[in-house]
Symmetry: C2
Subunit: 283 residues, 2 copies
Amino acid sequence: MGDDVSQYQVGDLVGVGCMVDSCRECKACQDGLENYCADGFVMTYGSPDKHDGTLTQGGYSDKVVVSERFVVRMPDGLDLKSAAPILCAGITTYSPLKHYGVKPGHKVGVIGMGGLGHMGVKLAKALGAEVTLFTRSESKKAEAKKQGADHVVISTSDEEMQAVAETFDFMLDTVPVQHDINPYLEALKPDGTHILVGLLEPIDPAISGANLVFRRRVLAGSLIGGMPETQEVLDFCAEHGITCDVEMINIDQINEAWERMQKGDVKYRFVIDMASLKDAQAA
Amino acid sequence: MGDDVSQYQVGDLVGVGCMVDSCRECKACQDGLENYCADGFVMTYGSPDKHDGTLTQGGYSDKVVVSERFVVRMPDGLDLKSAAPILCAGITTYSPLKHYGVKPGHKVGVIGMGGLGHMGVKLAKALGAEVTLFTRSESKKAEAKKQGADHVVISTSDEEMQAVAETFDFMLDTVPVQHDINPYLEALKPDGTHILVGLLEPIDPAISGANLVFRRRVLAGSLIGGMPETQEVLDFCAEHGITCDVEMINIDQINEAWERMQKGDVKYRFVIDMASLKDAQAA
């Protein structure tokens, strides 16, 4: 992606994900892993802009100027509103599945079924894995199967957890609040990998070192994905007919949506129709 | 290694490491990773024997019957007393270095310089890595250099730890008691791997999820090594002239040695000359 000749034409449909800039010079940036930029990337929302220092406004803008490097092409055939969260929830779950080489024959557990979890289920399935959704609530069983999960395990049931001990190659842990990781480590085979994509807090209860050492297990973290891989996941989703389940709202429903989100009452992402902002301003 | 035709002759010099048996049928055993046997391996010391149920006595025996699979050939040219701990401290540090592909160009940190740590330094150097020893005590600096470390970092110095932030590919953590892993995670590059070989307890203070997620770092565990790799590390040590630094004692010095070990006063392993047991019994 040179800076002189653009690969995009006026009128092309493009997307902007979680990042709009990075140092572009460190090893991570050179490797197309701008998400791990040594200087920290510039987030699309709430980050100081490198040029004028103002805070980036993300999707709450009617125009945005973004360097070509941080833009992705929207593939034909993807419903736009349903594709938008692929740029966050999609790439966040796709990147580690690809990085660790998930493929047919692998057993993958997905922990939690929110925006990230339901994309994790769809993507792991599309990569050929046998997918088990771990959830605390019996009520999510049918929904998990509908999303494509081969199996559902109720994580609060000692019996169900015991039954899957040492059987998984990977766990994709999408839970963003503190939770006990040990029972999931115990569900991994030797050499199994537990991937955190949501938990940024101190890990409490404490991980038992023995759960890693005695089975050569791995606890890993992963954060969104680089720009080349963000294009890749969009193309992959277009090819496999995968989108995020969304509910589109108008801008004037934002407070209600916020309250519903706090209660977990959303399947699985709200998408704001920005055309409604113009209507609201005109009114 | 078939059970019918032995690869050993009467009079061959062989070694027995930490294991004397395993199920031999699970996937790990089939892969030569008897150390991760699904049934748990039979330890050389203090494990119930699969055949008669008695506790294994390890090196405190003057004879031992061991299946050929759990025996390794002692290569020519290795001093026996100095080679003995390769079967534990050596394989424990070699196995993860090999598993994660440590090679020239890699920066490896070794945390702690006891029996495992000093072998970790020697082996990581022999694999071509640039090696930094992390220790709490200024007094170990000269000794670490003597053992082959390229650099020494005093881990209690915030300044020294800051200076190495995001510079390591691997950390080999040999510390067997609870300690804060976060400062070491912060010393890893993106994709860096922190390998626990000694810590079996709950990890306290808690690991920050962010330290893994924001840099795609990995926390891993590793336990001794399988039988084929135990032969490999012996051959590797013979080729590179590596042995463990040991102090050989007679059996009647065992209580004194135990007290010194409790105080950390050993460089780096005591080895008991079992001939002295016969002398003691004869006396």
